[in-house]
């Protein structure tokens, strides 16, 4: 049985021996190197572009907005408001204006320094809470890119008085404000794309998560049918959401240059350009006002979420929606009003980042729960025990939880793993009283949380994903999907799922490289959807393949699928044997996109994370000294890969909580180097102790649910709760850098 087995990563040996050919690793004869000339300030109008006459520009391929088909200068995403190349007015610093390419990268670099973009400045919005004046308006009447509301019970429209009454009569009203910073992805491989013409088509190969997003934006931009393009995924050196939307921009740039040059063009960003000019996690501010009764029950939650969307709409509406849907946490509160806004600022657009809005709101609610506990004099554990959602109860959108998970016992198990009670007593002795340490303080904290698998609401229905499984004449099987393996193990788990469903050994199955000329559109590799949603389609396609090759799907009868595939080919020479799986909405899933009511996700994964920290009062440095990550994720498909993905996500969360500060200057990241944007290194971390609970879900293959984003949600609140436990303070803003902690402690 290959599902649940520790099959080594199928792409692992290529990566460990240097054979895996990433986009910049392939030598392409005659390739030109492309570079980007960008706007110098946050907002303004281009007056002229000045090319230094000392350079022989006839040597270069040069592209600007005039090379773009009329009316098509836009990157198509949710809206088409972001130009591929600025024509006149621009909305952020480092917006692309001119593209140039040359055979020599040395000459390219000199030339990039020899172009000056002269501009007329316009007033810029540099913070989402900046008061608006008419000359700052750039989107609609209020610069709000998206506004939405999630309402439940007395939080519904028309019941304001009732909602207010809950607060008026509550034993406690607890308020808090929780702020999270931007976060840079720091995938170790920077963005890169190469484009060339072949057989009348534009071919693009590069580092990306969503080949069909790239095809769609090329088709829109060039105003040609999808078939005019072929997009091939190169091995991806990390994505985390950073290669969800941005690669479309880069593909368009490389394609524009390649078409004008009549030669292949490669654009590979260096680290500084990548950090300065590409998307980041949305900074967020969440305000909570909660009515709590004397027993600690949450009576009503009034939540206000504001996200900084940056200069264009990009993915902000859906990031905001996932954020708001998760904003009330995994609690059974009957009356909720959660209002969200994504606002325009003249910053580089914020984009997809692992968790997609939920880490921001989950940080807020999980800090807020500790704040409530402290203020009403109840333990954090007891407060959660009284409010965690149980089977038959509903989440914020009215979705009934019915997957049989027992959240209080998940929490208890995690606390036992971490020896929570025992550690709390030890810390109390160390932190205060006669035996207290001169400058070290220790604390322990935790967070209980959930994350929806797959696209929000009707998203999966709209995507209508399709997967093929092809039986080849040699009896081998190939899984064809658009799912990219950026390190999370897609190729391995999809081959395991197919092998298990077909009843063949995993080494008879391979997973195709996503190439839009030969794989169907199984949707983007985002939103914790690959294992659960696409994996389920792989199973359906396998069943279809078995049926077509004359074998039933009853596993009890002895059978030889590989032999049957060979026989089919012998009887049908020259034909292809393809099993197909197409997404069908599970009948009882109901969602209303307008009111945000219903089943927001087919399934949720659940977790309790416990962090122990040590704070040094001399340096104000916080160190995580133990970390327990316990989660219920349905069936675990491959324990080593799953554990690795959780550990990596937790460490990214630790970085976001403590170390990773994006310093903005004129709307762009000033510390755009790995030297001064600090991600965690091995010695900064304790081992991340991972525990799985497996309660198989009917929605995923063999019961699997999503795990990719979940581990980003828990670490930051668990760590901040631990710091607050250690110091007896309220710290509600991350990253909690030593500077920020010092200000907090010295300011009190």
């Amino acid at each position: 049985m290959s599902v649940g087995a520790d099959i080594p990563r199928v792409d692992g040996l290529d990566k460990l021996t240097g054979r895996a050919a990433y986009v910049d690793d392939v030598a392409i004869p005659g390739v030109l190197h492309g570079g980007t000339i960008r706007t110098p300030i946050a907002r303004g109008r281009i007056q002229r572009v000045v090319f230094d006459p000392a350079i022989n520009w006839s040597d270069f391929v040069i592209v600007d907005h005039r090379d773009i088909p009329a009316g098509r200068n836009a990157i198509k995403l949710i809206e088409a408001d972001q130009p591929a190349l600025v024509a006149d007015e621009f909305r952020h610093k480092h917006e692309p204006v001119v593209l140039i390419a040359h055979r020599s990268i040395h000459k390219l670099r000199d030339a990039l320094r020899a172009v000056r973009v002269e501009v007329e400045p316009l007033p810029a919005v540099l913070r989402p809470d900046m008061p608006l004046t008419p000359e700052l308006l750039q989107h609609g009447s209020d610069n709000v890119l998206k506004r939405l509301a999630i309402r439940k019970g007395a939080g519904e429209p028309g019941r304001e008085a009732e909602f207010q009454a809950l607060f008026d009569s509550a034993a406690h009203i607890i308020e808090g404000r929780y702020a999270t910073g931007a976060q840079e992805h720091v995938y170790l491989e920077t963005q890169g794309m190469v484009a060339w013409q072949e057989d009348g088509r534009l071919v693009v190969r590069g580092s990306m998560q969503c080949p069909y997003y790239v095809v769609d934006s090329l088709a829109y931009f060039f105003n040609r049918p999808r078939e005019a393009f072929r997009v091939i995924q190169a091995p991806v050196g990390g994505g985390f959401g950073g290669k969800e939307d941005f690669p479309s921009n880069l593909a368009i740039h490389a394609a524009l240059l390649a078409e004008k040059a009549g030669a292949p063009v490669k654009i590979v960003y260096d680290r500084q350009e990548d950090m300065a000019a590409t998307t980041k996690r949305h900074p967020g501010v969440v305000r909570h006002r909660t009515a709590v009764d004397a027993s600690g029950k949450l009576l009503a939650m009034d939540i206000d979420v504001v996200m900084d969307g940056g200069a264009y709409v990009t993915l902000s509406p859906v990031v905001l929606s996932r954020g708001c849907i998760h904003a009330a946490g995994p609690y059974a509160c009957e009356n909720i009003r959660a209002i969200g806004e994504a606002r325009l600022t003249n910053s580089v657009p914020y984009g997809a980042f692992r968790g997609f809005g939920a880490p921001q709101t989950m940080f807020a609610i999980e800090r807020h729960m500790d704040v409530i506990a402290r203020r009403i004099g109840m333990s954090s554990v007891e407060l959660r025990r009284r409010n965690l959602v149980r089977d038959g109860q509903t989440l914020a959108t009215g979705q009934v939880v019915s997957d049989g998970v027992d959240l209080p016992s998940l929490m208890d198990a995690a606390l036992t793993d971490a020896r929570y009670d025992e550690r709390q007593k030890l810390h109390a002795d160390m932190n205060s009283g006669a035996g207290s340490h001169p400058y070290l303080r220790r604390g322990i904290g935790f967070a209980t949380f959930h994350h929806g698998s797959g696209f929000t609401g009707g998203g999966e229905t709209y995507l209508a994903s399709e997967v093929w499984v092809e039986g080849h004449a040699d009896g081998r099987v190939e899984v064809l999907t658009a799912q990219t393996d950026m390190g999370q193990g897609t190729s391995t788990i999809l081959s395991q799922i197919a092998a298990a469903q077909l009843g063949v050994s995993a080494d008879l199955v391979r997973v195709a490289t996503p190439d839009t000329s030969r794989v169907p559109n199984s949707g983007p590799t985002v939103a914790s959807r690959t294992a659960m949603v696409v994996g389920k389609l792989v199973e359906a396609a396998c069943d279809d393949l078995l049926k077509q090759s004359g074998i039933g799907t009853t596993k009890s009868i002895p059978r030889d699928p590989s032999g049957a595939i060979k026989s089919w080919h012998a009887a049908n020479p020259g034909k292809r044997l393809i099993g197909r799986g197409k997404y069908e909405k599970p009948a009882h899933i109901q969602w209303d996109d307008k009111s945000y009511r219903g089943d927001a996700y087919a399934a949720y994964s659940w977790g309790t994370y416990v962090a122990e920290v040590e704070v040094d009062l001399r340096t104000f440095a916080v160190r995580v000294t133990d970390f327990v990550a316990r989660q219920e994720v349905g069936r675990v498909l491959n324990p080593t890969l799953a554990r690795g993905q959780i550990q990596g996500g937790v460490v990214q969360g630790i970085g976001w909580a403590l170390y990773e500060e994006v310093v903005l200057d004129d709307g762009v990241m000033k510390n755009c180097q790995m030297t001064n944007y600090v991600i965690p290194a091995c010695a900064d971390l304790p081992p991340i102790r991972v525990f799985f609970e497996e309660s198989p879900s009917p929605f995923g293959p063999q019961g699997a649910k999503g795990i990719g984003e979940l581990p980003m949600d828990g670490p930051a609140p668990a760590i901040l709760n631990a710091v607050c436990d250690a110091l007896g303070i309220e710290a509600n803003e991350i990253p909690l850098t030593p500077e920020r902690l010092m200000t907090l402690l010295e300011g009190r």
Binding site: D24, G238, G644, V651, T675, C682
Partner: protein, 188 residues
């Protein structure tokens, strides 16, 4: 030549000749190589674009991430910070020459995910494998901190280093290891 360091670091033969070039001979993964490269080329670019060894990666270009780690005459170096001429006449070892059994041991333990940091991590581990006396006394978490990885959270990397050392029969001091009821091995 497509994609050469000549191209990347400065105009080489056939171009305007503004940058001085020199003929560089060294031993790469056991074989002699000789290439004409600009005087200011980085070793990283010469390996990637002139010697067809693109396994070595660039993560940051400024000595911070360790993705470009190679072994130069027994020294573990960041090849993005090494001027190529410093490698002339010397011995360079890169990820392409990793032994198959070491690679499999690392694969089984989850050392690599996206693979972009992996070549550097493989080289750090290999450097250690050649120095049993250091390997037996070093804190692996400290030692591996010159290689930044954004995917694994490092537990898979540490497990890989342990597996490789075990494979070569090199004893280690206790390492922090996750596990039920385990509070972190010998780490204080």
């Amino acid at each position: 030549m497509a994609n050469s360091a000549n191209d990347r670091a400065g105009p080489g033969a056939g171009e305007s000749g503004a940058t001085e070039t020199f003929n560089m001979s060294f031993t790469l993964n056991g074989a002699p190589v000789s290439r004409r490269v600009p005087l200011d080329a980085r070793l990283l670019d010469v390996l990637r674009y002139d010697c067809a060894c693109p396994g070595t990666k660039e993560g940051c270009g400024e000595g911070e991430c360790g993705a470009c780690s190679v072994i130069l005459d027994g020294l573990l170096v960041n090849s993005c910070l090494v001027p190529a001429f410093q490698a002339a006449g010397r011995v360079v070892t890169t990820v392409e020459s990793v032994a198959a059994d070491v690679a499999s041991a690392l694969n089984v333990t989850g050392t690599s995910q996206c693979g972009a940091c992996t070549p550097g991590i493989v080289m750090s581990i290999r450097w250690l494998l050649e120095r049993p006396e250091i390997a037996s006394n070093v804190d692996l978490r400290e030692f591996l901190s010159g290689n930044l990885c954004r995917c694994t959270g490092y537990d898979g990397v540490v497990a890989g280093a342990e597996a490789a050392l075990t494979l070569r029969g090199i004893p280690m001091r206790g390492v922090a290891r996750p596990g039920p009821g385990d509070r972190g091995g010998s780490r204080p």
